[in-house]
Amino acid sequence: MKEEVIVSGRMNENIDPVLQAWHWEIPTYLFLGGLAAGILFFAALFYLQGNDSKYRTAVKIAPFIVPIALALGLFALFLDLTHKLYFWKLYTTIKFESPMSWGAWVLMIITPLSIMWILSYSQELFDHWKLNYPKVYKRFKWVEKLMFKWKNVRDFYSWIGTQRKIIAWVMLIMAIVLGVYTGILLSAFNARPLWNTSVLGMLFLVSGLSTGAATVMWLSKNEVERKLLSRIDLILIIIELFLIVHMFMGFLAGTQVQIETANMFLGGDYTLIFWITVVFMGLLLPLLLEFLEYRGYHIPVYLPAGLIIFGGVMLRIILLEAGQASRYLY
């Protein structure tokens, strides 16, 4: 029996025994950031391939979710700050060593870009509603009228329309940076062994792309587009599974703290919830469903898409909680 007993702690229940500095706000933001990155990535990619009319939902419809997701995510981040009135200090400094600093700047670039992108397609959205959801269209008709009321504003929209190629290139790169950043944000902390792995950046990027593709797939009414995104998701899920195995292999081959971290998921407190919700429900089940779809069975689209999104949310919640519980013992 080897034990270390801490008799007088630091009288701070916020730190002992488990660190509880970050709560629901952070996984919410990490998920929404990843989702936005995924949607923008595919929108820009398909546009640059010249497939904007073929994959209409991905390029023209789904990006409307992005500014809303980013706004909600940023609001969650704001709620997390404990010294809220000083939040603007983020934008008076650039610190390249701090992922949170350059992440804040990436958001500063990508949010207006995504808004410009959807503004240039707003006419198409209203047409889409007019065609598919006349009731929704009727309710929001005044928005359309207001948005296209002034000539200068209309000219601005059409000017953005001519700049789409540049926007798409910047968006493509920034979407990848945003997706990786949601993981790097955590992996920069060497005090939390679970997060301190370079796999996390790739894992969060792939998971973000996968949830983005699932969202587009869910929204799409077009069979060809759905098929393509279903294939993409199939590949992304396989990569994600590989990355998870890779992450645990790395931990198990590491130092004592890393081995203990891996054991949290291999027999410890987080075993059941992680392997059931993230790996089985969020990855293996949609993998099976999409494989069946690939073989010609008819699977309702909301099943794999919903499961993938659920898996993405759970991955972030569990990694955040478990990360704060993993620590150096001395």
Partner: protein
């Protein structure tokens, strides 16, 4: 100038006077503390090893908290003291997450607070409150660049360790063993 602290684990009796002195000197809000005493028992009965450690921010030379801070609120002062400028702190808790020693806490006013080696005293040539008050005189403070300082002399003479050296932080609080 390189401030460091050495704490004699053989002389420490774990009375927590250092904790109270710090709370008084630095006006630490009730329920929080910048330093704390760890009494660790290691081994299996009856071969037990007891160690008392008065712990605090290690004022690391390679501080993860300074690196992670997005606004530069966490920074190095002269002599390598790591402090937080409260007007620059947004309360994102990144530094709390990055500290392997869990030495930081969120002040009820919102900013993040921690041990400052009593910078208000040491810049005037005085000792930090915890060192000053210790009844067994088990703590030493001074400049490592000066080979004749109290802390340099004791570290040259005694075996010592730092906490979690494998974290790569290069701590400046030494424990004499």
């Amino acid at each position: 100038m390189r401030y460091a602290m050495a704490i004699d684990t053989k002389k420490c009796v774990g009375c927590s006077d250092c904790v109270v002195a710090c709370q008084t000197e630095n006006n630490v809000p009730i329920g929080f503390c910048r330093d704390w005493v760890v009494e660790s028992t290691d081994g299996s009965y009856p071969q037990l090893v007891l160690e008392n450690r008065s712990e605090r921010c290690n004022h690391c030379e390679n501080s993860p908290c300074v690196r992670c801070c997005p606004t530069g609120a966490s920074h190095y002062e002269e002599g390598g003291i790591v402090t937080v400028t409260k007007q620059d702190c947004i309360g994102c808790s990144a530094c709390i997450q990055s500290c392997p020693y869990d030495a930081r806490y969120t002040h009820p006013e919102g900013y993040v607070d921690k041990c400052t080696f009593c910078i208000q005293l040491v810049t005037k040539g005085q000792k930090p409150a915890c060192v000053d008050v210790c009844p067994t005189k088990c703590m030493y403070f001074g400049d490592l660049d000066n080979p004749n300082s109290e802390v340099s002399l004791i570290l040259a003479r005694r075996k010592h360790k730092t906490l979690i050296p494998e974290a790569g932080t290069n701590p400046q609080v030494y424990f004499l063993i």
